[in-house]
């Protein structure tokens, strides 16, 4: 052991210095983001661009190490997302959110898919771009709602239910794109997708039904053993899910879903810091791989896409809140709160790196997430002073 370390001593020292310096830079960015009242994701992406290939200062840390850490980051992001929800909440979400969820999917998937095809990309890359524009960032949205003290607002349940639907829809979408990327023929793709969907539904039902029992089994023991158990389970189930083409991210999401009660609260506390560390690595590594020039080139289409999808998200929010009987002001708040895209969009774009149009997709997704993650929280903050589309209610009062 010591021999190996000694032999690689110089390399290890350099790696420590580089990783340490990057972590310190990220810490400063995270603090800056906190002060600006935005999520740190766009700043991490910018940092990745700066230290990546063609950036201002290229790092040459072992790519294998960073790439594995980044993948773990995705699993932990999805795991903690699964932790957020209980089975009961998923059922409520599905009941009340199905129709707005479909409207949301169509209205926000179409612009990304359309632009991808318009740019002459292969279909798979265009489908991934559709996913990038579809899914709002649960992380940014809940942070915005908390910071603006809107959790008690009456439009908030309709926002959160829409997020639940989007996150659940990912459980179907990710295996589908995984099959598309694998590039099998049509019949094999259909078979893989069906297998994946069945696997997801089975695990979902098991997670909801036997989650309590699993949590009870994990409840004893120290924090250390719980941390290792939860971390191990997440990676193990994620890896197995990847083996059967379901996507490791969804496996991790379902593990999070299965944990309930006190174990859930403890796991959140224990995994939270680990998640922050690995997720920051993921965002950094994502843009680390992107040539800054690709992002610059993607800026014009990204701005166009942002403008269109800001409208389509506001529309989905309007419809979702409108169905719950929310007034015009509340509907505008619901719509603007949903604008921000973030972690999920980057996870989706990162699936396409192996594609021929993967670089362009990555550049566009990075620019797009940068824009929406900054525009979204600002629009949400000033939602009450934005012009509102005329509502039927107002026409009625002015007429009578």
């Amino acid at each position: 052991m010591t021999g190996v370390l000694a032999a690689a001593g110089g390399e290890v020292a350099l790696a420590f210095v580089e990783i340490g310096a990057v972590a310190l830079a990220l810490a400063m960015l995270s603090r800056l983001a906190g002060r600006m009242g935005i999520t740190a994701i766009p700043l991490y992406l910018l940092a990745g661009l700066a230290v990546g290939e063609g950036g201002v200062a290229t790092l040459d840390v072992s790519e294998d190490f960073i790439s594995l850490a980044a993948q773990i980051g995705v699993l932990l992001l999805l795991f903690t997302l699964g932790l957020e929800y209980t089975g009961e909440e998923l059922q409520t979400g599905l009941r009340t959110g199905a129709v707005p969820g479909i409207v949301d999917a169509v209205a926000n998937f179409a612009p990304g898919l359309g632009l991808g095809l318009l740019l002459g990309w292969e279909t798979t890359a265009a489908v991934l771009l559709g996913g990038v524009t579809w899914i709002s960032s649960s992380g940014v949205v809940s942070k915005v709602l908390t910071d603006l003290k809107r959790l008690g607002n009456r439009e908030t349940p309709s926002i959160l239910n829409l997020l639940v639907i989007e996150d659940l829809a990912m459980a179907i979408y990710l295996p589908v794109v995984a099959a598309l990327i694998a590039g099998q023929d049509a019949a094999a793709t259909v078979l893989t997708v069906m297998g994946a969907v069945v696997a997801v539904v089975v695990i979902l039902v098991l997670a909801i039904r036997f989650g309590d029992r699993l949590s009870a089994m994990l409840a004893g023991g120290s924090d250390e053993s719980l941390l290792l158990t939860v971390f191990g389970l997440t990676l193990l189930v994620g890896g197995l899910a990847e083996q059967v083409q379901v996507s490791s991210a969804i496996g991790a999401f379902l593990v999070g879903l299965a944990l309930t009660g006190q174990v859930r609260d403890r796991a959140e506390e224990l995994i939270g810091p680990l998640r922050d560390l690995f997720a920051a690595t993921f965002f950094l590594f994502f843009s680390f791989q992107i040539e800054p020039s690709t992002v610059a080139e993607a800026l014009v289409p990204a701005v166009g896409l942002t403008v269109v999808t800001v409208f389509t998200k506001v529309l989905s929010g309007h419809i979702s809140a409108g169905r719950s009987g929310i007034g015009p002001a509340g509907r505008m708040r619901a719509g603007t709160a949903l604008i921000a895209r973030g972690e999920f969009s980057i996870v989706i774009a990162s699936l396409g790196v192996s594609l021929a149009d993967g670089d362009d997709l990555g550049g566009l997704a990075a620019a797009y997430v940068l824009l929406t993650a900054i525009v979204g929280p600002l629009a949400a903050k000033y939602a009450d002073s934005l012009p509102r589309p005329p509502s039927r209610r107002r026409v009625l009062t002015s007429g009578g």
């Binding site: 929800y85 809940s142 003290k149 439009e155 959160l160 609260d265 509340g330």
Partner: protein
Amino acid sequence: MADITEIQLPGVGVRYEFTTADGDNVGVVCHHGGRREIVVYTSDDPDRAHSVLSLGSDDSRTLSEMLGASQVSEAMHAMEQRIEGLALDWLEVTAESSLTGRTLADGDLRSRTGASIVAVIRGETTEPAPGPDFVLLAGDVAVAVGSPESLEQLRVAVRS
């Protein structure tokens, strides 16, 4: 008790809502971690939550203790403390009462009812053993001692 509506907030917790007797809409957001937020909805935008009070789980316990405790002391207040045929009672002198603005001697309460006023509570201060020239004001609370029957007569006299 008013009806309490329960609304699921996926990923956050649960929100409870009710309308007070005065017509205010009040909500409580219960976070998964145990934090609570108290919110009030206004009439200009009924969907918007205002004046948010955020409470840690310890704070919630303290607050509910205080709300519960005041009910207990109210119940104590209403209860007459009987000691071997002697009773103690608190009687509020209202603005409508015929005793308001008059001295204890004017009221001639002891000979009329048999009960004695042993103290008068006025706001934050207490006047122990008020003399015959002590003037009663609206809002005063008279602490009286006597037999249960005499206290009942005093209560009628104070109210009329």
